[in-house]
Amino acid sequence: MRWLVYVEQHGGGFTPGSVGLLSWAARQGGSEVDAVACCPGATQAAEGLGGFGAARVFAADDMRLGRSDAQPHADVLAALLAREEFDLVLFETTILTSAIAAGLAARLECGLNWDLTHLELVDGEILGTRLALGDSVSVKVGWQGSPSRLALLRPNLFAPAPAPVAAAGRVEPLTVELEEWSQRIEILARAPYEEEGGRPIEDAEILVAGGCGLRSAVDLGLLAELAAVLGGAVAVTMPLVDRRWYHHSAQVGQTGKTVAPRAYIACGISGAVQHRVGMQGAEVVVAINTDGAAPIFDHCDLGVVGDLYEVVPALTALLRSNS
């Protein structure tokens, strides 16, 4: 078997999650594992990947691959898959890789299984595991009818681990030829996410996190007061950042940060999988939500069915009176 792992670059380096996926794939044994890097500077950056288990590294080194558009990456991968046979192509789930993998599936008419938490070989057949419906059901999925299989794995499942014995990591430059329709998007302006304000959430031992149960940006103050009493920091879910209620550097989840505090207090958070992948490493999770059927109650140590507008100020007051 031959597997190919897509390693992703953002802000000048490969993401730990995608390198972690490479090192995990290389540890599975029985397969040759190669990597593909599509970004400006890929040739040079690719050199270290043998240490994480890549036998070969295909490097598409091109300025046009440095943007957030998926289609040019799909062009590169489609050309590579036409030339070299791979049984499985693995991606760590991000906004970019989701679009690359979906485009590739449509173009090559090959199967794409997404949101996988595990892959295994059973009697020579590759099977994936997906937790579905708010993680209440575990689904075993497979591929059929095409030699190539595509898999999107949940983000941050594996930390980068150097291979016990470094693989060859032979870098093979790819010629980049892009479709005309892959290059039609013009970028007129950029606005980096606001990073100011608040304590960095990665360092906090206690996080007080807010979600869609909050009715306005001002109400985040309730969480900030509780965080202050606990010596912690405020974190938020993606919709709050999309509404510009809080800064992106405090966003937990798939398109934000992955955190592992001692305690994570989820206030008015329903517990969508995109958020949970960022906080599942917390030692203790306490959830406060008015909807007793919210998925977060399956993923917490203590679930309080109640209104955050009453419970959070009560907890803040109680902690103040105790100190």
Binding site: Q71, L96, A102, N113, G134, V139, L188, G303, V304
Partner: protein
């Protein structure tokens, strides 16, 4: 200008759903409703139609006959007409098979702009827009808001891993609309009455000139082998009571787990 919105009907109450152990498919016998993310895409299309002044908003769906209910809702909200592809042979279509059917219908409709919701509530892939764009060889953006038609091109802000970007795309193009893009309107009584007069076309795979083997489980490239109920890792202790007692309980809990000092 023709704006086409691709919508999906999903089981109502997104947090608790069930899979039919016989067919290994999502049970669709309960109450269903329009995927909430798609309401934002429809709202954006209606707004754009108002801006450009002339044209139509077409709502498309692939699903069982009663998915017509969600399309009726789109009509009540202001869509000009709707098309439902409904065919037994299309049941159980995966990404590749769904893309083949939807792609064919979109080729027939010749839209200027194709809009999707950012994702579906009953499957969290958020992949279909990108697959359809690739099939039709059109440019695509996702997590988009503030859509405008300027000099015959689409201009929009999108969120990416690296920040927000203002982008411009020639039409036709495909857009997955962010949930933060707008606040969808509510259907009025007048709208609901008018909607009954607006056309809702139903068509089959054969009607689109598609081989039934290209859709459904036969046209799919992925399979579901088995379902099971996973072990949940956390304690899931539950507390219901007034806020004062809840606060005391949380404090005692965090202290017992060593997070807070006694």
């Amino acid at each position: 200008m023709r704006f086409v919105v691709c919508v999906k009907e999903v089981p109502a109450g997104s947090s608790r759903r069930a899979i039919d152990p016989g067919t290994l498919r999502l049970r669709r016998d309960g109450d269903c409703e329009l995927n909430a993310f798609d309401a934002h895409a429809l709202e954006e299309a209606l707004r754009l139609l108002d801006d450009v002044g002339s044209g139509e908003v077409v709502a498309l769906s692939l699903g069982p006959p009663r998915a017509g209910k969600s399309l009726r809702r789109c009509l009540a909200l202001g869509a000009t007409r709707a098309v439902l592809v409904s065919d037994e042979a299309a049941a159980g279509s995966d990404l590749v098979a769904t893309t083949a059917v939807l792609g064919r219908l979109l080729e027939r409709e010749r839209p200027d702009l194709i809009l999707f919701g950012q994702q579906a509530e009953d499957s969290d892939g958020g992949l279909l827009y990108a697959a359809v764009a690739d099939r039709l060889r059109l440019p695509a953006i996702s997590k988009a808001g503030q859509l405008e038609i300027v000099d015959g091109k689409l201009q929009a802000w999108r969120s990416t891993e690296d920040g927000r970007e203002l982008v411009r795309l020639p039409l036709p193009a495909v857009v997955a609309v962010s949930r933060a893009a707008n606040e969808p309107r509510q259907a009025s009584l007048k709208g609901s009455i008018e909607a009954r007069k607006r056309p809702l076309e139903e068509c089959t795979l054969a009607g689109l000139g598609l081989d039934p083997a290209a859709a459904g489980e036969r046209g799919s490239r992925t399979v579901v082998h088995a379902l099971s109920v996973p072990e949940l890792a956390r304690g899931r202790e539950r507390f219901e009571g007034d806020a004062g007692h809840a606060a005391e309980h949380i404090l005692a809990f965090l202290t017992a787990r060593g997070v807070l000092e006694t």
